[in-house]
Structures are given as structure tokens and as C-alpha cells.
């Protein structure tokens, strides 16, 4: 008779294969990372530039990033985009506070022809006036639209208070768009793109000639600057509320400055983070969604910067349960400080995290991303073996100790919008 009441035997994960990409020097400061083991025709190429939003006047970095394919003296933006599309390429450009990244997705046979088009478009970028004006108008519209979202309002107020008076805490206002000028854009571009390439990442079954050509095409952009990132940021504690008329939900952001992968408590803290709010069965999800029904979702994360990092809790809740939700968040923090996590809950989280790590290492794309998330800190894949060790050895006492150290309600920045 089939026993449906009991779970089938669970087998532990025996080992995870971590595969390192090959590394080539483009220049003394810029490296190319190459993951060749791709069993199909897909290819991805990322170009990282030292051109994040903390650089330059407010807003400039983001506009330059949005204008990279806006045309040269010889070619219009329409021509450039059509050439990429003719080769079946997908182009994305994105920006964070410390980096700007261009990504190309294509079939293997087309990656170099596409890169040639993009190389020319960037090398000869002309900052044509009507293109700049068009982007400013588009961004202005988008900004107004975002200001209608409680999540956006809460996020920017949180960023401001979390990063306090550091360069990371700058937030864009509508009138910042007025001060964007073509000379400023050109200057930023010259310094941080044409001389700002910090790394190249290639995933795809390419040959050595292809890699050599990629190095040739991008080599002259190699970064010459050694950017210094801030490392002593302190978040502003306590609360702030942004009023948004007519909102039916309130967005909540709670967090504090923490640390990145280089800190000795990082791996253990990730386990505490998972228990607290980073999986479907977490303390916060179980209490605030699955028990009270206050929200569609609530989650926590550890975000990393070059020299530091931060911890964040984010949710959107019914507007009449904002205070009740904050009270429960505080309650769950304190519970982790005063009560030991049960062995069963801890075992579940350990197994879950090992499963997630297995998934993060599955396939050439995930594996490359996993490597690229330790590389900025001069760590290598051994970091993940240490993570496994940390998962296997952590105790309820250690979790409690970390909660007492890092999850104190009074240390948190607390922001809501609604």
C-alpha cells in the first residue's frame, strides 16, 4: 500500500560542480572572461563599463547609457538598430550605481558581426541633438509615470536615507533633466566609456579567433582609471512616510547598511536572511502573507556594492495594514533574537539553500553569473565551497547571535509611501 502521508526519502546533494571561465587580459586592468561550454547555438556578450550613476553630475550617466546606439556621423540610430536586427541580435543596456553594462544576445554565427556594428556605433557616437532631446522627453514622461507608483516613491526615499549623504544617496528630480547638455554627455562618455571598459564576459561556443577579435574590437576602451568607491556609509535610522493620494496600497522599505561577500559574517548572514524573508516559507511570508493575508508578497535581500552592502525588506500592503505590517516585521526580527530557530526549520532552510546553489550553478549562463558575482571582490569559486561549509555547519545559536548583531529594529531605515 502506497504511503502518501510520509515524504519519500530525501537524498542530500553530494557535490556541486563549479566551473571557472577562462580569463584573458585585454589590458593590465581589463579582463575578458570566457565560458565556452555551451551545448547550443546561443551566445551572450557583456561589456562592463566603469560608468555607473555615482559618476558625473546627477543623471548624466543614465542618459549616456541610453544614447549609446543613437547614431554616428555616418549612421542614424535607425540604421544601427536595423543592422543589429538583421543579424537577429538583441541589445540591452543597463546601469547600476557602480557599473554600466551592455549585453548582446545572438546566435553564435552572428555575434561578431553584431559586435562590429556596436563597436562602430559606440566608437563614433555623435550625440545628435534631436536624439538627445527625444531621450530627455521620453525619460521625463517615464519619470512622471514612475512618480505615480508607491514602490518607486518608497524606493527613492529609502535610497536617500539609506545612503544618507554619500554619493549613492543622490536621487533624480524632474528639474535635473534641464541641466543635461551635450558637452556634459560627451565628456562623460569620453572618460567613462571610451576609456572605461572594465571587463568583458563571453558565454558561447566560440573559437580562439573570435575571442581575439573581441579583444581587438574592444581593447582600446580599456579602463585607465582606478575608481575609489566609498566604504563608510551610515544609514539614517528611523522612519519617513511619503504621502500618495489615492493609493490603495502602501509600499514599505526597511533596511540598513550591511556588508558584501568579503565580510566574515556574509555567508552565515545569508542563511539568516533566507530564514527571515528570502524564500516562500520564510518567517515574513508565513506571517504577513500566509497567516494574515496583508500582502501579495514580502521579501528580504542582501544587496552588494564594491566596498559595502545593504540589507533590505520590501513589500506592498493594503493601506489600512501598514502599521500592523511594520509591527509584525519588528516582531519577527525580535523573535529571531530571542528564540532559537528549531532544528527542523534550520534543516529545511539548509536543504533549500543547497538546492538553490545547485540551480545557480546549472548551465553555462548561470555558472558564469555565479562566477561574475564573486570576481569583483577578488574571490574565486572557492567562495561557494565555503558557502556550502557554512550551510552545513551553522547552528541555531549562531543564527540568533547574527540576528542580535544585525537585525536590530532601531538600526533600520524605515520608509513607506502610500
Amino acid at each position: 500500500m502506497l504511503n502518501r502521508k510520509e515524504t519519500p526519502a530525501i537524498l542530500p546533494i553530494e557535490k556541486i560542480n563549479f566551473v571557472k571561465p577562462q580569463v584573458f587580459d585585454i589590458s593590465t586592468s581589463t579582463k575578458l572572461f570566457f565560458m565556452k561550454e555551451v551545448p547550443n547555438e546561443t551566445t551572450r556578450l557583456d561589456l562592463y563599463f566603469d560608468a555607473g550613476t555615482i559618476k558625473g553630475d546627477i543623471g548624466i550617466a543614465s542618459f549616456v547609457n541610453g544614447l549609446l546606439l543613437s547614431g554616428t556621423k555616418e549612421k542614424t540610430s535607425i540604421q544601427i538598430n536595423s543592422e543589429i536586427d538583421n543579424l537577429g541580435g538583441f541589445f540591452e543596456s543597463g546601469i547600476s550605481n557602480e557599473n554600466a553594462v551592455i549585453t548582446i544576445y545572438s546566435l553564435r554565427e552572428n555575434i561578431l558581426p553584431i559586435l562590429r556594428v556596436i563597436q562602430d556605433a559606440i566608437q563614433n557616437l555623435a550625440f545628435i541633438e534631436h536624439e538627445v532631446e527625444e531621450l530627455i522627453a521620453d525619460r521625463r514622461q517615464k519619470f512622471k509615470q514612475n512618480m505615480e507608483k508607491v514602490s518607486f516613491l518608497a524606493q527613492r526615499a529609502f535610497q536617500q536615507r539609506l545612503f544618507n549623504d554619500s554619493i549613492y544617496g543622490r536621487i533624480t528630480n524632474e528639474n535635473d533633466f534641464d541641466s543635461i547638455t551635450i558637452p556634459k554627455l560627451k565628456h562623460f562618455f569620453q572618460e567613462n566609456y571610451l576609456n572605461g571598459l572594465s571587463k568583458v564576459v563571453v558565454v558561447g561556443n566560440l573559437n580562439q579567433d573570435d575571442i581575439d577579435e573581441i579583444i581587438d574590437l574592444t581593447g582600446s576602451w580599456s579602463s585607465e582609471v582606478n575608481t575609489q568607491f566609498e566604504n563608510s556609509i551610515k544609514n539614517l535610522r528611523g522612519g519617513a512616510h511619503i504621502v500618495k493620494d489615492g493609493a490603495v496600497q502602501t509600499a514599505i522599505r526597511v533596511g540598513k547598511i550591511l556588508f558584501n561577500k568579503t565580510h566574515e559574517d556574509y555567508n552565515d548572514f545569508l542563511i539568516l536572511n533566507t530564514i527571515f524573508g528570502d524564500y516562500f516559507g520564510s518567517r515574513l511570508m508565513s506571517n504577513i502573507r500566509e497567516d494574515k493575508g496583508y500582502t501579495y508578497g514580502i521579501g528580504t535581500m542582501v544587496a552588494e556594492l564594491h566596498e559595502t552592502g545593504y540589507f533590505l525588506i520590501a513589500t506592498e500592503v493594503g493601506k489600512d495594514v501598514k502599521d500592523a505590517t511594520l509591527k509584525e516585521i519588528q516582531f519577527e526580527m525580535e523573535r529571531l533574537q530571542t528564540e532559537l530557530v528549531s532544528e527542523e526549520e534550520l534543516l529545511l532552510v539548509k536543504n533549500y539553500m543547497l538546492g538553490q546553489l545547485l540551480k545557480s550553478a546549472d548551465g553555462p549562463y548561470s555558472m558564469t553569473d555565479l562566477y561574475m558575482s564573486v570576481e569583483p571582490y577578488d574571490l574565486d569559486l572557492d567562495f561557494y565551497n565555503k558557502s556550502i561549509e557554512s550551510i552545513n555547519h551553522i547552528t541555531p545559536e549562531r543564527i540568533q547571535e547574527l540576528a542580535q548583531k544585525y537585525l536590530r529594529w532601531n538600526d533600520m531605515t524605515v520608509v513607506s509611501a502610500g
Binding site: 502506497l2 530525501i10 543589429i84 552572428n110 493575508g293
Partner: protein, 414 residues
């Protein structure tokens, strides 16, 4: 080429197995042939609410997620107007844990009042978060009933109104389960590094004893042919005027579906598309514009949507848009343009099939369409498309009497 094996259990469950020797993970994907189109108009949002309840414990297992997490796995689901799809991803050596959990909730649910009460609230918050508390969030709640008069596509998966979710009773929940959740109404796909015999053995072990059910007959109100242009204007506290032109297009199992798909790409997939170049770059009428299809099983929609630039009127846009739509009806597109659309389709497909979960899901969808092998032959349908086909499709679809237009007017207080 995605290889798979198919077998059927005596109780009617269709099982697909896709072997991937390169991954340490397993995927268990379960597609139930039920979506929001199977609801009655007085009780909408039900298929989706029910999806939430499927995580609230089954007849023998009080909690769905915890045992899966204990086995190193995770799970999620989604509901559309057509289907409800559940998936589990976990380390391959714990495959049976997922089969145990999924088979038990196919057998029967726990139906606890607490779960219903909480998930009602969660879904109401989801309704607010995604549809009410976002600029333009309620567009599909307005556009669907404009485009469809009879067919159940006239309501959104989340439901017509919050009240329908508030009013859901345990009786409703049980009826819904008994009607739609049984082996003959489901397609299961197991993917990972296994042998077929093993998969057969463990699937038979966990699913074999589930009693057979009856696949419910689907009798939907058919949508009468649209004979007139429809237009609705709504005012919202948004910063920018927005437009949504929705054209009826053929159902999923029709060649015309693929033609409409490519047609929408030509009009507005990317920055080399016709509407982007003409209306945004050249005439500077819009800040954004795109064209896409809803991908529906029954008669769907090809939608052209975007936002107006400041100072541009809906009338200016309307004139320029119809001029472009007229062009694609009167002049066949060039072979170069068609080649460009095709290589983008091919590239996206290659990337989509990278992931084990995507492969498992798509196999189930193609099986629902009639044959999982469709996953490997679909590109032939695309490749057979000629410029003349697109012109005919455009003539047929892109006409005012086949169009429902929703305008979102920015009210002054924005």
C-alpha cells in the same frame, strides 16, 4: 531538436518525459487544461484563486511547500485565460518528492477554511498591487470587455471585480476542483537526467492509483464576428495619454495565428519595426509604441499600444497609424524585412529552449495543442510564411471594423 517520450496511464493522465543528461536538476511540470475562460461570468477570478489554494495543503499532506523545500526544491504556478500551470524544480535525486506532492494534490485538496480565507485576501492584495495601484494597471480590465462581447476572454484572469473573489465559498472551490482537477484533464512532464523505465515506474507508483475522472467538455460562448469599430475613452490620473488598438486574430491552432504573430513583429517588435521608425523616430508622435499578440488558444488579439508625446492628439496618432497599417496591406513586405523577422524568431526560440523548465512547459503546451512534437516542427510553419501571406493577413485583420480602441486620457490632476 527536443527529444521526448510519451505514455499514458490507465486513469487518463498524459505523461511526457524529456531527458537532459547535462543537468543535476529535475523539473516536474503539470499543466491543467483549465483557465479563466472556463469560469462563469458571475464568478470570475476563480481559476486563479484556485491556483493559490493548490498550495494550501492536500488530502494527505498538510503543507505543500515545506517538504519540497526540505528536498532542496522550489515551486510556483501561473494561471492564464487558457491554462493553469504548476512547476517544481529540485535536485534530480529527489524527483519522487515532487511526484508525491503533485500527485497528492491531484488526488484531492485539504480544503481548509483558513487557507481559503487567507488566499482570498492575498489575491485581493494582488489585484490591488498589479491592476489598481499602478498607472495604466487597469487597462486590460477595460480592454477585454470592449473587444469581446460574448467569449469569456472578456474578463481578465484576476477577475472582473474584487467582489467575485470576496464572495468565493468553499462549495465553489470544491466544485471547481472536482470538475477540472483530474488525471484526464492534466498533462505531466518530467524532465531531467533519468531513464524512461524509471520515470514510468515512479509516475505509475504515485499517479496510477488516482481515480480516473471525466475530462470536462468545454462549451464556450463563441464570439460573434465583429462588424463595427469600437472605441472607449477612460480618464485616469496618469501623466500621459495612452492608446490600445486591439484587432481580433485567429486562434492558436490556425496557420493565421502564426501570420498574425509575424505581422505584429513587423509592426512593432523592436527598434527596426515599422511603427517605431515611422511614428516615433520620424514623425515624433509617440514616446513608446509596440505591437504584440495575446497568444490565446481561442480567437485572440493583435494589439498596437503606446503613449503619446506631449502636445500630440489622439487624432494625429490615429491618422498616422492607419496610414502605416494601410501600407502593409497594399504593399507586400520585402524579403529582407521578412528575413529579419525570421532570424529574430529563431534567435529567441534558441534562447527560450536553453532552460529545462521552459522546455518542459512548452512540451506540455504543444501536447495540449494536439502533439508535443509541435515544439520541433513549429519553425516550419514560420518558414513557410511568404510576403503575400502577411499582406493577406494584414488585409483581413487590420481594418477598423475589426478593431477595438481604448484611449487612456490623462486627467488634469496628474
Amino acid at each position: 531538436m527536443i527529444k521526448f517520450e510519451r505514455f499514458k496511464l490507465d486513469n487518463g493522465l498524459t505523461v511526457l518525459f524529456h531527458k537532459d543528461p547535462t543537468t543535476p536538476l529535475a523539473v516536474v511540470n503539470t499543466l491543467y487544461d483549465v483557465g479563466a475562460r472556463d469560469e462563469v461570468e458571475e464568478k470570475t477570478g476563480f481559476a486563479h484563486l484556485f491556483e493559490h489554494l493548490m498550495f494550501g495543503g492536500s488530502v494527505n499532506i498538510p503543507d505543500f511547500d515545506a517538504p519540497l523545500q526540505m528536498a532542496g526544491g522550489e515551486s510556483n504556478a501561473f494561471t492564464s485565460n487558457d491554462i493553469t500551470n504548476y512547476y517544481d524544480v529540485l535536485p534530480a535525486n529527489n524527483l519522487e518528492t515532487a511526484l508525491w506532492l503533485e500527485s497528492d494534490r491531484m488526488l484531492s485538496l485539504a480544503f481548509t477554511p483558513k487557507s481559503l480565507e487567507v488566499q482570498r485576501n492575498v489575491v485581493i492584495e494582488e489585484f490591488k498591487q498589479r491592476y489598481l495601484n499602478q498607472p495604466y494597471g487597469d487597462v486590460w480590465l477595460e480592454l477585454r470587455p470592449l473587444a469581446y462581447e460574448k467569449h469569456p476572454y472578456k474578463w481578465a484572469t484576476i477577475g472582473k471585480e474584487i467582489k467575485h473573489i470576496e464572495d468565493a465559498t468553499m462549495e465553489d472551490v470544491k466544485d471547481f476542483f472536482h470538475k477540472h482537477y483530474n488525471p484526464s484533464n492534466a498533462i505531466l512532464c518530467v524532465a531531467g537526467n533519468f531513464e524512461l523505465d524509471y520515470v514510468k515506474e515512479v509516475v505509475e507508483k504515485w499517479y496510477g492509483p488516482i481515480p480516473a475522472g471525466i475530462k470536462p467538455a468545454r462549451i464556450l460562448e463563441s464570439e460573434p464576428e465583429q462588424l463595427e469599430f469600437r472605441e472607449k475613452i477612460i480618464e485616469r490620473p496618469v501623466p500621459t495619454d495612452a492608446f490600445y488598438y486591439a484587432f481580433k486574430m485567429p486562434e492558436r491552432r490556425n496557420e493565421g495565428y502564426y501570420m498574425a504573430d509575424v505581422l505584429s513583429d513587423a509592426l512593432g517588435r523592436d527598434k527596426s519595426s515599422r511603427l517605431y521608425i515611422s511614428l516615433k523616430k520620424e514623425q515624433k508622435l509617440v514616446s513608446e509604441i509596440g505591437a504584440y499578440i495575446t497568444g490565446s488558444m481561442d480567437q485572440g488579439l493583435l494589439v498596437v499600444s503606446g503613449k503619446l508625446n506631449n502636445g500630440v492628439s489622439f487624432e494625429d496618432l490615429d491618422k498616422a497609424l492607419w496610414k502605416e497599417l494601410d501600407k502593409i496591406q497594399t504593399h507586400p513586405i520585402s524579403q529582407d524585412e521578412l528575413d529579419r523577422l525570421m532570424i529574430k524568431i529563431r534567435t529567441s526560440k534558441e534562447f527560450q529552449e536553453q532552460g529545462l523548465l521552459n522546455r518542459a512547459m512548452n512540451l506540455c503546451v504543444f501536447e495540449l495543442l494536439g502533439d508535443a512534437e509541435g515544439i520541433n516542427t513549429e519553425h516550419e510553419i514560420y518558414h513557410a510564411i511568404q510576403p503575400s501571406h502577411l499582406q493577406e493577413t494584414a488585409l483581413h485583420i487590420l481594418k477598423p471594423t475589426n478593431c477595438s480602441l481604448l484611449k487612456v486620457k490623462a486627467s488634469n490632476n496628474a
